[in-house]
Symmetry: C2
Subunit: 199 residues, 2 copies
Amino acid sequence: MKIVIVGATGTIGLAVKAELGQRHEIVSVGRSRGDLQADITDIASLQALFARVGRFDALVATTGSVHFGALEEMTPELYQLGLADKLMGQVNLVLAGREYLDDGGSITLTSGVLSDDPIRYGSSASMVNGAIDAFVRAAAIELPRGLRINSVSPGVIAESMPSYGPYFRGFVPVPAARAALAYSKSVEGAQTGQVYRVS
Amino acid sequence: MKIVIVGATGTIGLAVKAELGQRHEIVSVGRSRGDLQADITDIASLQALFARVGRFDALVATTGSVHFGALEEMTPELYQLGLADKLMGQVNLVLAGREYLDDGGSITLTSGVLSDDPIRYGSSASMVNGAIDAFVRAAAIELPRGLRINSVSPGVIAESMPSYGPYFRGFVPVPAARAALAYSKSVEGAQTGQVYRVS
């Protein structure tokens, strides 16, 4: 398969590339690194990306940022950062990439544990992750040509604990390589409309 | 209690007003009708609203629209309509209204069944409803002064079946008065961080 990984140079992306790269051709996309560059918040940038990539078999998004901050200090603008980047950035990838996917191809997005297991400062992340998982369930029933879509909802990634640890006390860290298996299941399996929770 | 219902002139809002109005003082807010008017997509409009309302005990939002359309035809702009209105409109109510809520006061938002049980044309509604439920779970653990927040996630409302029926074939219609009980539980009970699914 030819697999496009957007966010391929991040912690999860590298692990997904290591897992899927053993068996498939990987096109790495990043904001400033990777084989190709694109801005997920700009649909035109993504349309240009996929025109350059051409036909492919699987799209994996391991990208997207949100603002972490105390609920007390959150504003509409701070929530919009996550809505525009992690949520609509990944939805933009679906909208721009789907026509280049071959029949039966798959899309795998990334949400996260905070949709159901919240932390202080995480209200934007929770909102966005819940939106992604629900979007995936809905989009799955409308995608044409046997196209599939799932999300991977990992817990806090072990490799990120040096920076995220203080916010995730008591959460069981998930090695990136373990999370990568869920992407493999989504890409190489046959399920659709699933949220793969990795804990 | 003094209860502010935003969207009080809609189908669910009227039922919530009928239920809670038996025991409490209701301030009805609508876009163009009700005791007071406000635009939920405009935080300044809501700040002006609550300055006029003054202190109160419970905020109920039964408002918010999304675009229904085939996944094939959805664009970033069409998703943004629902993100700005039903999602951030209700979050704006939380941000603008919380400081006027008395200690122990409650906030009740409205999501809907499509977060988990999708229909054709409903990908934006699913996304937004999933975001609201996850936001409520997260905000509940950060609200100060014993403030509470829950969401009500109703199925398709029986009174709306004449217009929505064709999109919700096979869904069990929920009378608005039955959905209104969940708002009563949220406002008059003591729970927080809950999603009340009404089916």
